[in-house]
């Protein structure tokens, strides 16, 4: 008998409790609820269920304040993914999730399994995944690990998503020293389902078979901390926890098999095995149904020999699902999984005991009530201090460049602004033959198969804003998603979030969390984009150095008529240019200009006027719907001049623009990051009427111009060659990755 098995009966020591990440107080609660000491397997089960990841113990209190409802919401937070109504009996299912730590340890597999995990969350609900997105944060380019991590993460995301045949249609990528020791890999999946074919995770019947399908269970990713400090015996190498390796081929089979079975009326409840695999899937299902569950671990499909109950329950092997079938449907279900070459095993049944009972090798190795594991998990209202307000930086505190063209060239080739082509060309973005807007635009757009409507998807957050002012930063993240979806002509419907922060036990980090969440909630309320799913990733720190607060927002919008969709590129010589939206102050605090030109990260972030965002968005979307504009792009990182450049890049067209504002220095007008603005192009004959309508709607037209020539001119400054800007913008990333 190996030592680990012996540990099953060994007495629980304070060290074991600590190694499992439980506080002595939490352990006392366990003993109280059980009326006895747990055994080792039970301790493991409590520890994963009560981990931050599964229990949201630090965040739950604050998450409860987010708006999660609306007429468009079919399913809010609490299921594997959220669901919104997109009309005609169709629904969109989506969620975003982090895989930060695994991706830092092993970038390819970490990112790949992150993508695999989020896709499972979506197809568990009966939806076919139709689009993937990814939000990535890496350390500074010069950091010795960055290049390797970028290469591995991108290859891993592509490796998994491409094999699954789901197009990756967009994302975001930042580089900052704040992520040197802790990169962020957030993956989002959007799926489509008919509203009458949605599957949930709450079983309804007692005595129904509990079925395990998918890959076999191995010793993958078992609670690193625990295993590392367990004593190892002679076959210790075999028992060491291992990095989870993704098998997208098996997941593709699992997807098809599940969707095939879902055509029948055989499934009572279904739940994917994500973090804490068999433990959390079985407990969450039982808890949601108010039931109990018994399982015989002897029949769990196993990849390795002599696995203990502890190991099976805590394994994070990928590509597995747990289902509760309706009684008597086993043979039918098995036939489908056999056809797809996947393991299928009836491993237990639902009960009315309210307990999780596990048998292994003829013994009961776990017998605990489910309530305390799930619902009664500890909740903390961690102390927090608000982030001190940063002083607003005025334009005259930021030196002007010697030459505006040279400044633009430097910014357009800077790591955060440079083209992401090198990344997205490693992702299959055209598979499924419904991608109507490929990566590189404001939002990825995929058609609802067989219809003329489409979903627009964007992920955004500006961590430097969140760092300087969490409240504004939270608002801005939602506002930018809203703008990006609007810019392609779609109506934003709902969002998912992936809240990446440092250690919540530090009051200043908790303050960032609370501030960002307040901003997000407020923005979602005003912009009518409820939060329907999400994920919290805390403890993103290395050596006490926390990442910048990074609440990534993923939004989905509906384009009722895909043929009306707009893109950001200039279309025709002679088109007029208007900048429409909120007023302009030339806000340079926390701007890309300030950072790239002066190496300064200072000041307050630009204020976000959510009512203005709403007005501007509705107005611009109206113009698109009425087909009155030819190109649309929102203004974000880098300000007006970067936005106009991006509309010209890769086209043979330039622009001549004028900003009529004598009180603000030109570099602040060119590079200021004032919010709520869009650049549109339109027929010259429409300028007067659109300007009037904009003003009547309470909006400002802050700049005008013409699409012309092959260079860019602002307020009569020296023309800047578009070809040169394109080359600079395209070259940075391939050159950086070149020596990979």
């Amino acid at each position: 008998m190996s030592k680990l098995t012996q540990m099953d009966t060994a007495e629980i020591t304070p060290e074991m409790v600590k190694e499992h990440g439980l506080s002595p107080e939490e352990y006392d609660v366990i003993v109280q609820r059980l009326n006895r000491a747990p055994n080792y397997t039970e301790l493991g089960i409590f520890s994963v269920m009560w981990s931050e990841h599964c229990s949201y113990k630090s965040s739950r209190f604050h998450l409860a304040k987010l708006p999660t409802t609306g007429p468009q919401v079919i399913q809010g937070p609490g299921e594997n993914a959220g669901i919104i109504d997109i009309g005609d009996g169709d629904a969109a299912v989506f969620k975003m999730e982090s895989h930060n730590h695994p991706s830092y340890i092993e970038p390819y597999q970490g990112a790949a399994t992150g993508v695999g995990g989020i896709m499972r969350d979506v197809f568990t609900m009966g939806a076919r995944p139709v689009a993937n997105m990814n939000a990535l944060r890496f350390g500074e380019p010069d950091h010795p690990k960055t290049q390797h991590l970028v290469g591995g993460v991108v290859a891993g995301i592509g490796g998994y998503g491409n094999c699954m045949g789901v197009p990756t249609v967009g994302g975001e990528t930042n580089f900052h020293a704040g992520y040197n020791g802790n990169i962020l890999v957030n993956a989002m999946t959007v799926g489509l389902v008919r509203t009458d074919k949605i599957f949930l995770s709450a079983p309804s019947g007692v005595g129904n078979p509990v079925v395990y399908v998918g890959s076999k269970t191995g010793r993958d990713g078992i609670h690193g901390a625990t295993m590392a400090s367990a004593e190892f015996d002679d076959d210790s190498d075999e028992k060491r926890p291992t990095v989870q390796v993704g098998d997208p081929f098996t997941e593709k089979l699992l997807l098809e098999a599940c969707l095939e079975l879902m055509q029948e009326d055989a499934i009572d409840a279904i739940q994917d095995m994500g973090a804490a695999g068999l433990t959390s899937s079985s407990i969450e299902m039982a808890d949601k149904g108010g039931l109990g569950i018994t399982m015989n671990l002897d029949v769990v499909p196993q990849r390795e020999q002599n696995m203990t109950a502890y190991e099976m329950m805590l394994s994070e092997s990928q590509e597995r699902m747990l289902m509760v079938l309706k009684p008597g449907r086993e043979a039918e279900a098995k036939a489908i999984f056999d056809k797809w070459g996947l393991d299928f095993a009836v491993i237990g049944e639902t009960t009315d005991t309210g307990r999780l009972i596990l048998d292994h090798n003829g013994e009961t190795v776990c017998d605990i009530p489910i309530r305390p594991l799930a619902d009664d998990a500890p909740k903390y209202q961690r102390p927090w201090v608000p982030t001190p307000d940063a002083a607003v930086l005025s334009a005259d505190q930021v030196p002007a460049p010697i030459d505006i063209g040279e400044a633009l060239k430097k910014i357009i080739a800077s790591p955060d602004i440079a083209s992401r082509r090198w990344i997205y060309e490693q992702y299959d973005y055209t598979v499924m033959a419904d991608t109507v807007q490929i990566p590189g635009g404001d939002a990825g757009v995929v058609r609802v198969h067989g219809t003329n409507k489409a979903l627009a998807i964007s992920t955004d957050v500006t961590p430097r804003y969140c760092q300087a002012g969490p409240l504004e930063g939270g608002r801005q993240a939602v506002a930018e998603v809203y703008r990006n979806i609007t810019a392609v002509g779609a109506k934003p419907l709902a969002i998912t979030d992936c809240l990446n922060f440092g250690n919540p036990e530090r009051p200043e980090i908790m303050g960032q969390f609370v501030g960002c969440l307040e901003g997000i909630g407020e923005a979602c309320r005003i912009l009518d984009t409820p939060v329907i799913s999400g994920n919290v990733s805390l403890y993103n720190e290395t050596n006490g150095q926390a990442i910048p607060p990074t609440p990534a927002i993923g939004g989905v919008g509906l384009l009722k008529d895909a043929s009306k969709m707009t893109t950001k590129h200039f279309k025709a010589e002679g088109d007029a240019i208007l900048v429409i939206g909120g007023g302009v102050t030339g806000h340079l605090g926390q701007s890309i200009y300030l950072r790239e030109m002066h190496g300064r990260e200072e000041g307050a972030p630009p204020p976000v006027d959510l009512e203005m965002e709403l007005k501007a968005g509705n107005f611009v979307r109206g113009l698109i719907t009425e087909a009155r504009v030819n190109a649309v792009h929102d203004i974000s990182d880098g300000g007006l001049l970067v936005a106009v450049s991006e509309m010209a890049l890769g086209t043979a067209l330039g622009a001549d623009i004028t900003v009529d504002d004598a009180n603000t220095p030109l570099h602040a007008l060119a590079f200021g990051e004032d919010q709520a603005r869009y650049v549109v192009t339109l027929a010259p004959g429409d300028v007067t009427s659109v300007t009037k309508a904009a003003e009547a709607a309470g909006l400002t037209v802050s700049a005008t111009g013409t699409v012309c020539g092959s260079s860019l001119t602002i307020n009569g400054c020296a023309p800047i060659s578009i070809d040169e800007l394109t080359e600079l913008n395209e070259d940075w990333l391939p050159t950086f990755m070149g020596a990979e």
Binding site: K252, Y424, Q426, Y427, Y429, A433
Partner: protein, 220 residues
């Protein structure tokens, strides 16, 4: 005109191919499971793109040995048209229906983008809807698209007019810019680019339509 699309475990462009075929023929394509020992009667068979068997071992290797391939080979030997797109092309080379192999892309990265394709030979049942020398724009999306064969084979392919398409800007290191080839009878085509993804203006082009139209024409 009856068409069939073979579905291997891990195929993921099977639906895309079926949609394009239905658009061209007006009739739904029959989806055929790889485990079927027999092929239904079809005028045209398509091996779709994807990652059959995860591209494990060698892309296309395991699919080339599946039960349905006997029927596919018989179909080809009978002189009826057979098209392998992307992973389907890899299966055709692994099955010995087309010469050469598709190696890992020269820069080792997966590549997804729209590339220029020159119609090298428009006197085939697959390409006669195009003009000779015409350049069309078609997306590629693959990891193993780097066509390799020995010089003798390449000379023969070129000499016999069996290079159907060439890249105008080689994305993967393929020998002599080869993007698609024919067997010696001219009824089997393998190509890495995805014509089925460009049969709809909303998706940025219809340059793939003429390929399907050519086949409909030839089979009429």
């Amino acid at each position: 005109m009856k068409t069939a699309v073979i579905v291997f475990p891990g195929s993921n462009c099977d639906r895309d191919a079926a949609v394009a075929l239905e658009r061209a023929t007006g009739k739904p394509a029959e989806m055929v499971w790889h485990g079927n020992a027999e092929l239904p009667d079809a005028d045209l068979v398509v091996l779709p793109g994807g990652f059959s068997y995860g591209d494990y071992l060698r892309s296309g290797a395991m699919s080339a040995r599946s039960p349905v391939m006997e029927g596919v080979i018989a179909h080809a030997k009978s002189g009826r048209p057979l098209v392998g797109i992307c992973n389907g092309f890899q299966v055709l080379t692994e099955a010995g229906l087309l010469p050469g192999v598709l190696m890992r892309n020269a820069d080792l990265h997966f590549v997804c983008k729209t590339v220029g394709l020159q119609i090298t030979n428009n006197e085939t049942i697959f390409t006669n809807g195009y003009a000779s020398g015409q350049t069309i724009n078609v997306p590629v999306a693959h990891h193993d698209g780097n066509y390799f064969a020995d010089d003798e084979t390449l000379d023969r392919l070129e000499g016999e007019g069996r290079v159907a398409f060439r890249y105008t800007d080689n994305p993967n290191g393929s020998a002599r810019d080869i993007a698609g080839i024919l067997n010696d009878e001219g009824n089997v085509l393998g190509m890495m680019p995805h014509p089925e993804r460009v049969v709809d203006e909303a998706l940025g082009g219809t340059d793939g339509s003429a390929l399907f139209a050519s086949l409909v024409e030839a089979l009429q």
